[in-house]
Amino acid sequence: MNALKRLRGANNEGILLAVIIVLVIAMAMASPAFFTPSTFFSLVRSSMVPLVFALGVLLVMVSGGIDVSFAAIAIFAAYSAIAWSSGSGIDPGLFGAFLIALVIGALLGGLNGVVIARFRLPTLIVTLGTQGVFKGILLTYIGSRYISAGNLPPSVLAAGDAYLVNIPGAGYLHAMMVPVVLVTIGVWWMLKYTVFGRGIYAIGGDVEAARRVGIKVVRTQVLLYMMVGALAAFGGIIYVILGKNANPQSLVGSELDIIAAVVLGGASIFGGRGSVLGTVLGVLLVQLINNNLVLVGIPSTWQRAAVGILLLAGVGIQALATVRASSRSTAIHEETVA
């Protein structure tokens, strides 16, 4: 019983892993083209940016909120950094580009945080509003022009061709995987081992109780949203590097897949629960479906429906687990009586 419980994981990560394995086996049986290194490499490649975004969404969700502005922040920060560089002709270098974007992202995220924490407004409404504002400002004041590979800063363009592993004919692992993995580990470590990270769980569990034990809720939330903004910007720059272009119209619209992945990963939409491991698995699952349904002969028009069905299933499992937990606690209660 206990071993089984550990296998299932605190947020059903085990179930998720099992679903992924079953899916992989099913797809492999359905199509011989599936079980190849190239499928694996492209899965990893297409998961990198969504994973970074998903980590930000996870942080917000654990704190009891929901963020739909991350895509707007990501493209705002990345495009601004690139546009400034290509407009002025100054190449800030790869680190410089990251730095500029991260600062912009943190500022925009901080704005979200201040509005949410100071005025105690619902996060969904605030981020819905700010994502519109951010996108509007980007297109009006910063630029609406597509920046092609030739106009990217040379350092950023060069990073697009940096491979960690390159097997000709099969595919490659991109060098940007390294920072993505590091950031993932960083977020995992922060959530698990820092007082700040545990504070995010506490706030997600009960804001009023958090206030009462002396957690500086406003400061924590503002910091959290700055961090999430920076994460979004980080994802935005990687998106530009991988795609070798900067398009101010891109990314916005992809929010739902990310949020779905995080919820599938076991994060509770009511806050207080969620893990990095679950989020990683959730992202992989969604990407697996997005990439490969066509491969096994299911029309691409079914992709949206498949993600939707998965999302419902994920939330359903959560709800069932809650019901089970409550009936379990009465059972414990009864045992102590007898």
Partner: protein, 498 residues
């Protein structure tokens, strides 16, 4: 006494939107003193606690801890650093974290650690739990623990830091008498260490057992303050509400051949209770009591269909009723006031008026199946008057009400459905003496008008004061039925423990 007080509250004034909650309250706590703060709901007790612990800022006056500087920008963390700890009535725990983290996170925060060490948290939590001689599963999520365990965790959390002043807001409501005694042992141990304790409770006999000093608040003012030895429960109660209260037994006679409103026969649910049979007659108030976890609440929940019974039959008003859901129970004419009214019985953010009609909206459908607004307004104001709910108007949100008044709203909600049988689980938990008496007056009147009333409670004196019959549950079985003169506090206590 020349000992320097550890906490001084000086002339605190707090006004909320024109209403004076505290009108210049002063008191002081000596080290090792247990100071009882008594007062009705709405007397300003909760506001005073909030001010002392920094959640609310006073309009004027100051709080001084241990002869130091007055606390200035009072925030919760400042108060905690000064050594003030509060055990809140609602516990204020984090349901999603483990017991160990709930207990020790605070000390990580207070020590300004940046990294949170699982080992350190575990050790700190274990130390407190061992120190208090408790047994708690530290790895369990608090959401999975029973109410009594949660209360213990709240206590442990308050003690993990170096508390100099400990404020306990209604700490005994969810505890059995054995657990209360254990809490008192803990309190005495803390006293020996020089911790000053402010004890807020409605159970006046408990208060007198433990405290050395009594301060009574009424309408935001200190009306009496003095050594506990000079007080009796009666005197405190009188000071609290400004008039005499009685807890004498007072039951109206029931006709022996009155209709049977509820007949329960051989009711059982695996692991919770078995073979429960009883009848309730028109005009009767029936008490059901037992220790926490004896199955008393589960029986009520089975009758109301929350966790339906697996065997046995229920008949309401002479007609057999199959109750496998709450909807069916409601249709059969059963109403239920749950134990945890704040989370289960009310829509806290919504106006009183909406809460009152929440369970009976169906009956207000007029022509074309639309709601009849006028009729709704009429019954709301009738119930508002009848139950004497103390609020500026029926549009005030329920959250703004005191415990006793919130309870009246729940009762009003069910009365609006005209139930044949009304079950009340712990109707006076967290309700002060004056309101308690009024709630039972209301119940007596309801019974006299023909509603069958079942009260599930562990407040034995109130059962003695109002019930025609008392059923005692032990380990899931009805072990005794007391009638008339047999209904006595000592007798019930003895039968409960077995």
């Amino acid at each position: 006494m020349s000992v320097e007080p550890v906490l001084q509250v000086r002339d605190i004034v707090k006004v909320y939107g024109g209403v004076r909650a505290l009108g210049g309250v002063s008191l002081s706590l000596a080290p090792g003193e247990v100071h009882c703060l008594a007062g009705e709901n709405g007397s300003g007790k909760s506001t005073l606690i909030k001010v002392i612990c920094g959640v609310e800022r006073p309009d004027s006056g100051e709080i001084v801890v241990g002869g130091g500087e007055p606390l200035t920008h009072t925030t919760p963390s400042e108060a905690i650093r000064a050594g003030i700890q509060v055990i809140y009535q609602d516990f204020s725990l984090f349901p999603n974290l483990t017991a160990a983290e709930n207990i020790a996170y605070l000390s990580e925060l207070a020590a300004r650690h940046k990294l949170s060490s699982r080992r350190r948290i575990r050790a700190a939590a274990e130390a407190v739990v061992a120190d208090l001689g408790l047994r708690i599963d530290l790895d369990a999520d608090v959401a999975d623990l029973s109410v009594a365990d949660r209360q213990l965790i709240a206590i442990c959390r308050a003690l993990v830091g170096e508390a100099r002043v400990l404020i306990m807001d209604e700490p005994t409501t969810a505890l059995t008498s054995a657990e209360v005694q254990r809490l008192f042992t803990i309190v005495e141990r803390l006293q020996e260490r020089g911790v000053a304790i402010m004890f807020v409770s409605h159970k006046l006999d408990e208060v007198l057992q433990i405290s050395q000093h009594v301060t009574v608040l009424r309408n935001g003012l200190v009306v009496e303050s003095g050594p506990a030895a000079e007080y009796t429960g009666q005197r405190i109660a009188k000071a609290m509400i400004g008039r005499d209260v009685s807890q004498e037994r007072h039951v109206d006679p029931v006709e022996p051949d009155a209709d049977v409103l509820l007949a329960v026969d051989g009711l059982g649910r695996d692991g919770a209770f078995s073979d429960v049979s009883f009848e309730l007659r028109r005009g009767e108030i029936l008490g059901i009591t037992g220790l926490l976890g004896s199955g008393r609440a589960e029986i009520a929940e089975a009758i109301f269909g929350v966790h339906p019974a697996e065997e046995g039959t229920i008949a309401v008003g002479g007609r057999p009723a199959t109750i496998s859901s709450i909807t069916e129970a409601m249709k059969a004419g059963i109403g239920y006031v749950p134990e945890d009214r704040l989370t289960q019985g009310l829509f806290l953010e919504n106006p009183i008026a909406e809460n009152i009609v929440a369970a009976s909206l169906d009956s207000y459908r007029g022509k074309g199946r639309l709601l009849d607004r006028r009729r709704i307004a009429d019954s709301i104001s009738a119930l508002f008057e009848q139950l004497r709910i103390k609020a500026p108007n029926p549009q005030a949100p329920v959250r703004s009400l005191s415990g006793g008044n919130a309870q009246r709203v729940v009762i009003a909600k069910w009365l609006d459905r005209n139930p044949t049988v009304l079950l009340l689980n712990g109707p006076t938990v967290g309700v002060d003496v004056g309101s308690k008496e009024e709630i039972f007056t209301i119940l007596r009147r309801l019974a006299a008008h023909g509603t069958g009333i079942i009260v599930i409670s562990d407040d034995i004196p109130e059962l003695v004061a109002s019930c025609h019959r008392v059923l005692i549950v032990r380990a899931g079985r009805l072990v005794a039925e007391l009638v008339g003169d047999e209904i006595e506090v000592a007798e019930i206590q003895q039968r409960m423990a077995g």
